[in-house]
Symmetry: C2
Subunit: 434 residues, 2 copies
């Protein structure tokens, strides 16, 4: 039986999962592949900590060149995370003719073009299924299964940390801070959760998916990104009363001319396919005129779910090596020469329905003033929810759901409303996807 040798850079949470799966699924992998996968080397700065997985001392190295320059290693798995030195190592692996598997969404969303260009020039393969949605086969589906589908919409719940927090807030008992603390205690959120709760991680992921679906570059730094830290229990409760759930949604729409890509909390009707995706689950929904919709649901994070996606990519590349077919699929599904630059929809032109929450002084005429300002900006109101007065005689909450309106109009109207004397706090805006 032939052997294909693999090097792993980064022996952290996912790396340990990969090592365990390669070991415990060894027989299954050999039976699928008709060849042996051998993990020859693991590079990490820390080679002393016991990760609880079977590795020999000889497999471990602190010198990444033991992998990058080993001619026997065909496939390099990069699981360091971050931009550098991951970028340098991946480029060097490719220059040395090695195929690459990576779970690094930050790297691929920022430096994907540079990396994928080398992959294509050198007729190599790159796998990055684990970079979005963990074990959910969304990258593979966009690259292959949906290749004939003129996709118009991708919606994703692609950050398990944020989804866990919102789910706990929806369960009724938690505010944002205690839900975050609980997520950190359970290992679902990092010590510094900024990337997850502020939507940056989701932005990296939706940029990668958009690029695959539409054959264009989407710069995660340029899209509208809003996190969940402004969401209060009163928003969750009002959403529930109106028949909605609030999710941190990554959205990418293509109207034939421009792409509308954004990450923000969104209110979804409770029978929406994404509304019931709770806890650490992830889901991605893909729509087009041929298949209507496909929804893929699974574990979007964690050592073993993500690790199994990494190993799936290694097997795919190994099959390619064995059949002499590297470079079968362009890394971003479209060959570089046939990709195109689609403009990002101007933020002003985003159209959505909106849920607005105001804290207003308890005095007559407030609703009339607000609705007057909204109306003068071409925003029509679908429903109004006025809560009972607060005990302390402070401001009272007033919630308004609008019909579809333009982002520019909403922003202008809100800016005017914020200046009113009867408004106590900065209004909260949540987009509504129907």
């Amino acid at each position: 039986m032939k052997t294909i040798q693999v090097g792993l850079i980064g022996f952290g949470v996912i790396g340990s999962g990969v090592v365990r799966i390669l070991e415990e699924s060894r027989e299954l992998i050999s039976r699928r592949l008709g060849a042996e996968l051998r993990l020859k080397k693991i590079a990490d700065l820390d080679i002393d900590t016991d990760r609880g997985v079977p590795v020999s001392r000889e497999q471990l190295t602190t010198d990444v060149n033991d992998i990058l320059e080993d001619p026997e290693i065909d496939i390099v798995i990069e699981l360091m995370g971050g931009y550098e030195p991951a970028r340098t190592f991946v480029l060097k692996a490719l220059e040395n003719g090695k195929h690459v598997v990576s779970a690094n969404k930050a790297l691929l969303s920022k430096h994907g073009d540079e990396i994928f260009t080398v992959v294509e020039e050198k007729n190599l393969a790159v796998g990055y299924e684990a970079s979005v949605g963990g074990a959910i086969p969304i990258i593979r589906s966009l690259r292959e299964a949906f290749a004939a589908n003129p996709i118009t919409l991708i919606e994703g719940i692609v950050n398990g940390t944020a989804n866990y927090i919102l789910s706990r807030m929806s369960d009724g008992s938690c505010d944002f801070d205690s839900a975050l603390r609980e997520a950190q205690e359970k290992g679902f959120a990092e010590a510094d959760p900024t990337f997850d709760i502020e939507g940056i991680d989701s932005a990296h992921k939706i940029a990668i998916l958009s690029s695959l679906a539409f054959g264009t570059r989407v710069d995660a730094d340029k899209i509208l990104v809003e996190g969940i830290s402004t969401i209060g229990r009163e928003d969750i409760q009002s959403a529930a009363e109106l028949g909605f759930r609030i999710k941190l949604l990554a959205v990418s729409k293509f109207n034939g001319e421009s792409v509308d890509v954004r990450v923000h909390p969104a209110m979804l009707p409770k029978d929406h396919p994404m509304a019931s995706i709770n806890g650490v689950l992830n889901a991605v929904r893909v729509c087009d005129q041929w298949m209507e919709e496909n929804v893929l649901v699974g574990h979007g994070a964690g050592s073993l779910p993500t690790g199994s996606a990494v190993v799936g990519d290694v097997i795919e590349i190994a099959r390619g090596i064995l059949s002499g077919s590297s470079g079968r699929i362009p890394p971003q599904s479209f060959p570089k020469a046939l990709r195109r630059d689609l403009p990002l929809l101007d933020r002003d032109d985003i159209r959505s329905a909106y849920f607005l929450r105001f804290k207003v002084k308890d005095q007559p005429g407030v609703l009339s003033t607000l609705s007057g300002i909204l109306g003068s900006h071409a925003i029509s109101i679908e429903s109004v929810l006025q809560k009972e007065r607060s005990a302390q005689g402070q401001g009272v909450p007033l919630m308004i759901m609008t019909h579809t309106a333009k982002e520019k109009d909403i922003r202008q109207a809100l800016s005017k409303i914020s200046e009113l004397e009867c408004i106590d706090e900065k209004p909260v805006l949540i987009r509504v996807e129907k």
Copy 2:
């Protein structure tokens, strides 16, 4: 730009969808492929009916050999359905060195071994994503994404007709016959719906998925198959009262030694991921120890969803041709030599919880008699639901939910119970998946 030529056998509902997608997604496909897909010939006995899709007279033929023997055609799409002459045509296409795409689950579940053996010997490619779950990328996921996952469970709602009927019955208004009639009127059920409602179509599909997941042959004729025609409104209602939904479920479990493959109506708790899959939607859930679970939901039938899966396979094979990599993946994910014969779990040994519905004479001591018989067969009762008496003084319904028990014990107990004087009709049995 290179051109890859395709022949289509069978110009029916799905065939028309394929023609339309190849035409309307032409530019998208060329951009992904870096080559042109050209539909050179379509063979069908009826070449006169207008299918409402753009074909020229020269593309049409009644002689299948115009496709099978044309050396310019690289890929043959078989969409005839049925066992013969589809089998003969597919084998001849392969013998002539052509790659094959098929949506024919009956053919592949019965003659798959014969066909796949030729594919592997001749180093060709075969795509059959469209044979299970329409546009849901489940075949591709089992062949590739989940290649490192030691799968223990596949659950599928893989027949849209049956799911539509059960959904309509659940909505509250329909009995089985009127739901079936409605499905037929809407084009969701065929004039002869036997294959769909009796579970035979689902059996073909779960046999195909099991084969891919476990690397073993599963004979659809040998598995337990029960349809939905015995399901009454009272079962649906009782299920709802107990917090369950009834679905026609295709199940395949692997315990390390044998495979437990079956198709039957199943009661699912209403928060089960498959319980909310309604109407013509299909879903497949795959579980293993690494990724825990993945659920894929989409349109499982119809001209365009199924057609787009067919075209996705054509693109995959075309990419292989262009990169010289046919035979990259074994047709059933495991190379033939590394597949194995796993025994089918004996039906007597199936373990499940059961919902039992009896029609009993309205007299004292009946429940005691029934529960005594169940108890003497090692079946313990979880709950009992006794309905009010019927107006006409006929038998009254008595529903029992059991804890997990062995199929053999249940069958023996039911056989004894059926003989009782106090039992009016054949008891109804529905398995419960938790």
